[in-house]
Subunit: 180 residues, 2 copies
Amino acid sequence: MKPFSLEELLQEQTVTQKVKRGEVLIEQGASSFNSFYVEKGCLRGYITDSKGKEHILQFAPETWLISNSDVLANDVISLTIDAIEDSVIRVINRNQAIETNLLEKEGLISMTNKLRKHMSFLQKRILLLLSASAEERYDDFNQMYPNLANRVPQKMIASYLGITPESLSRVRKSRINGNS
Amino acid sequence: MKPFSLEELLQEQTVTQKVKRGEVLIEQGASSFNSFYVEKGCLRGYITDSKGKEHILQFAPETWLISNSDVLANDVISLTIDAIEDSVIRVINRNQAIETNLLEKEGLISMTNKLRKHMSFLQKRILLLLSASAEERYDDFNQMYPNLANRVPQKMIASYLGITPESLSRVRKSRINGNS
């Protein structure tokens, strides 16, 4: 029987790799054909703006995929990807994936479903950035990344939410006190 | 020979449909298995928040795809989709697509590439909302949607950018005067 899910295909065709907390996998601006699937730990994708401020696009805890830029999309963005915990990952090389059965029909359907799901999350995040309060954004973060709030430095969560660490501290207090 | 691009598959398997400016194709909250491919004109996807304010997630001019929610992603968002110009569209029914060769390998690769490209645009937009000035966001809008700035009401562009119409007016003046 053919393997169906992306996870099964990855187990069949890639090897695991350990990365240490703080290790940089790709630097912003570098072009790369690699994506990373996280089995354990947590990676992070972010840009540093011209003023040196970091803006986090994505956390990638267990079962998430992350890549820094998309050759098909003419490299419209390019992230730095680093490990914020000791992690175990699988590296997916795009050229290799094209040559193997990662792109057979079953793998493609699984990949397409993953992309569509991720796209919906991105769309929701845009709408939240346009319309929602800091509290609503924090609730969404917790829904999207269950249990990550206690694993990740508060400064990084504030960066992800687009608010100051002081605002985040206020939001967390209001949530702990049971306000909704 | 098998058709390769999504456009060719759509021409083979769907019919065109005319919609009038102002016509609503899907109401926010309605669940739908339809996506819309725009041949001519322009559709818009937006939410209305609890205060009655509209927030535009996406414009869909010629060659764009738009859908209101994703069943696979547990309906994390749901948009109203309407026509902001008289338009010619193709309706893609998801259940039908699964049964036909839209999901054959060639169609899937084409669809996956389109999704990845769109995902990169969404990621870039998030980073712009987190980090960029109104001017930079307006430049990005023009890059993403060439020539749309003169077709779409200014109020809608301001909503898409997450700025007030007054700020947009200031930005446009500065761009016309050649400041960058």
